[in-house]
């Protein structure tokens, strides 16, 4: 079609945060796939978790004169200056997966899920499931200070407010990793009377939940029954756990942020259509009722 023909000459720079988790690897893979399908020349830069590297990459993209920039910002603050530079150079910037604290005329659109909303969905599910029974919750936070950790905590707490039966009894960081998730869960179990006091686990990502599930099993309890497990991301491994009845629910964070972004970009290139400032991806809730094995098979190949 006409749209994709003009897209063929597009050079798009993509500043990715890093490769710290399976989810992010999947996002990178999907972005590359999407670009290839559309014939876009994607310039990829990995910032290794460092904002300074992202700013450098953006500056390089600008100096290189790319047609558009995708940015998955590692942190919300500190983007005004470089975004202004991009604007001065008339290069549209699309934010992926997280937003920034900058005036919204500095970027074209943001394709993100709502991190607070994700936490909220998880919290709502839990509130509905325990239905008024008293429930002690332990929380595995993401990396201290990272925006998903802060927002997913906030959203979850919002959902809990007004439900006096739900109480977060312990909250520690599991650094988004399986190992720490397991280690921290072990100490939660010890600290809460061998786990008898715990009714539910909320993990800021699936990896930590997978680690924690093992810890629960090793403590002689049944995850999913004795302790409810709800987490966020919807990576393939959690579906396996759900199929085995060891996890209860997960909130999807789709790794395909680039698709909508490229669509918006193509529309803008074609006739100058301005996309809305925020393209929100769906935060879909999956539970054991959703045929987890099938979803696992579907997601397996995506590079998680």
């Amino acid at each position: 079609t006409f749209g994709s023909a003009s897209a063929a000459d597009l050079v798009v720079g993509f500043s990715q945060i890093g490769s710290e988790s399976g989810w992010r690897a999947a996002e990178t893979t999907l972005t590359k796939q999407q670009a290839e399908e559309r014939g876009i020349d994607l310039k990829f830069a990995d910032a290794q978790q460092k904002q300074e590297n992202q700013i450098k990459a953006l500056r390089s993209f600008i100096a290189q004169g790319v047609n558009a920039i995708l940015l998955a910002p590692v942190v919300a603050t500190g983007w005004d200056e470089v975004l202004q530079e991009a604007k001065d150079a008339e290069i549209p910037v699309i934010l992926l997966d997280r937003t920034v604290d900058a005036s919204d005329d500095l970027y074209m659109t943001a394709v993100t899920s709502d991190l607070v909303h994700e936490g909220n969905v998880a919290g709502k599910w839990l509130a509905d499931t325990v239905a008024g029974k008293p429930c002690n919750i332990v929380e595995l936070q993401g990396t201290t200070g990272s925006s998903p950790a802060i927002d997913r905590k906030k959203g979850f707490e919002q959902a809990l407010s007004g439900h006096d039966n739900l109480k977060i009894v312990r909250s520690q960081t599991g650094d988004f990793t399986r190992t720490k998730g397991k280690e921290v869960m072990e100490s939660f179990l010890k600290a809460e009377d061998g786990g008898k006091n715990i009714c539910a686990l909320y993990a800021h990502n699936d990896d930590m939940a997978v680690g924690a599930i093992q810890a629960i099993k090793e403590a002689g309890l049944k995850p999913g029954t004795d302790i409810l497990v709800v987490s966020i991301d919807a990576v393939p491994d959690i579906f396996q756990a759900m199929a085995a009845g060891e996890a209860n629910a997960t909130v999807e964070l789709t790794p395909n942020m680039a698709g909508p972004a490229f669509d918006a970009l193509a529309a803008f290139q074609k006739d100058g259509t301005k996309p809305p400032k925020w393209i929100q991806t769906e935060s879909k809730l999956y539970t054991q009722a959703d045929d987890p094995m099938k979803i696992y098979e579907a997601k397996k190949g995506l590079g998680y």
Binding site: E20, Q141, T144, S171, K190, V210, Q214, D237, Q240, Y304
Partner: protein, 334 residues
């Protein structure tokens, strides 16, 4: 014999005291700390958790001790632990490939240090930077989940009421300590660490021993990597062993081995690693908000290190000598 044992106890005394104090402190904020029970055919409790969670750092510290004794340092162990990743092979094959990778990484470091004469900190920095990249290249950044029961057993199985990782590091540590102390290796390694040139001139096979030290460290890292992977039933190249090299170095220093090489003690380093893990576990059990984790850990470590520092230590030994009232004469005692 008892004299030797007493000498050993004296050497480990500061570490033992530090450990005891930390455990006591933890039990103050968390009363159930010392409780042990048997569950699923193994001991279960916070103390066991410390020994179990400490496994990777203990293993890294064992290798690191020997490397540091040669006046070296191995920054690459974390990355090597991350690269011990294979999947889709049989258990034996996986172990062979993984341990082989570790040895190979050690060989590389050793050759850079011993043959090309590059400063250890830089030589191993190369692999520290590149190693994780290679590991990610192999896994393409994803967490490889596996279901091999043998491998999983390594991570969460138990034997004689102890989790298998604990058994592994105990056996491995004792093995290394025996090999090093019952042969002349220990002394030769210390000689190299103190004065490499003089040792070479005295006929010590310096390059070979140096390479062997780094290979041991690589091997330890590989075992630590296997345990870490088996523990979570998945190989996570992105996060396995991240910053673990620093913990291992800290463990060795807390164990009283000088970064300038020379005298070393495997047992003391293992204790050092357990001390670090006790701090970590203690923080988790205490229920403080996570933003205080680092500052608590740093404060405790600084305190221990200050107690370990030569001036403070000398003051202690002086007192100890006064108490003993006579010079050590274990040699004649036999």
């Amino acid at each position: 014999m008892t004299a030797i044992l007493r000498g050993y106890a004296l050497r480990l005394l500061p570490q033992l005291i530090a450990l005891a104090v930390i455990l006591l402190m933890v039990s103050l904020v968390f009363p159930g700390f010392f409780r042990l029970e048997i569950q699923n055919g193994r001991l279960y409790g916070s103390l066991i958790d410390i020994l179990n969670r400490g496994a990777p750092v203990v293993l890294l510290a064992i290798g690191m001790t020997v490397v540091i004794a040669t006046k070296g340092i191995d920054l690459s162990v974390g990355a090597v632990a991350a690269s011990s990743i294979t999947s889709g092979h049989s258990l034996a094959m996986t172990l062979v490939i993984t341990l082989g990778t570790g040895l190979l990484c050690g060989l590389w470091n050793g050759v850079l240090v011993a043959i090309l004469d590059i400063q250890p900190i830089i030589a191993t920095l190369v692999l520290m930077v590149a190693g994780r990249g290679i590991a990610q290249l192999v896994t393409e950044g994803a967490i490889l989940t596996f279901n091999d029961p043998g491998l999983i057993f390594l991570g969460s199985g138990s034997f004689a009421w102890l989790p298998l990782p604990v058994i592994i590091w105990l056996v491995f540590g004792i093995l290394v300590a025996l090999i090093v102390r019952k042969t002349a290796l220990g002394m030769l390694i210390e000689a190299i660490g103190v004065n490499r040139q003089a040792s070479t001139l005295s006929g010590v096979l310096t390059p070979v021993l140096l390479i062997a030290a780094y290979m041991l460290s690589g091997l330890c890292a590989a075992i630590a990597g296997i345990i870490a992977a088996a523990d979570i039933k998945g190989a996570d190249a992105n996060n396995a062993g991240l910053w673990l090299e620093l913990d291992a170095i800290l463990a060795v220093v807390i164990g009283g081995t000088s970064l300038l090489g020379g005298r070393f003690s495997i047992a003391a380093s293992v204790l050092g690693a357990i001390i670090i893990q006790s701090i970590n576990t203690g923080i988790l059990l205490s229920g403080f908000p996570p933003e205080f984790n680092l500052i608590i850990k740093a404060a405790i470590i600084v305190f221990i290190l200050v107690l370990q520092s030569p001036p403070v230590r000398n003051a202690f030994t002086f007192v100890a000598l006064l108490r003993a009232g006579r010079k050590p004469t274990e040699g004649q005692a036999r």
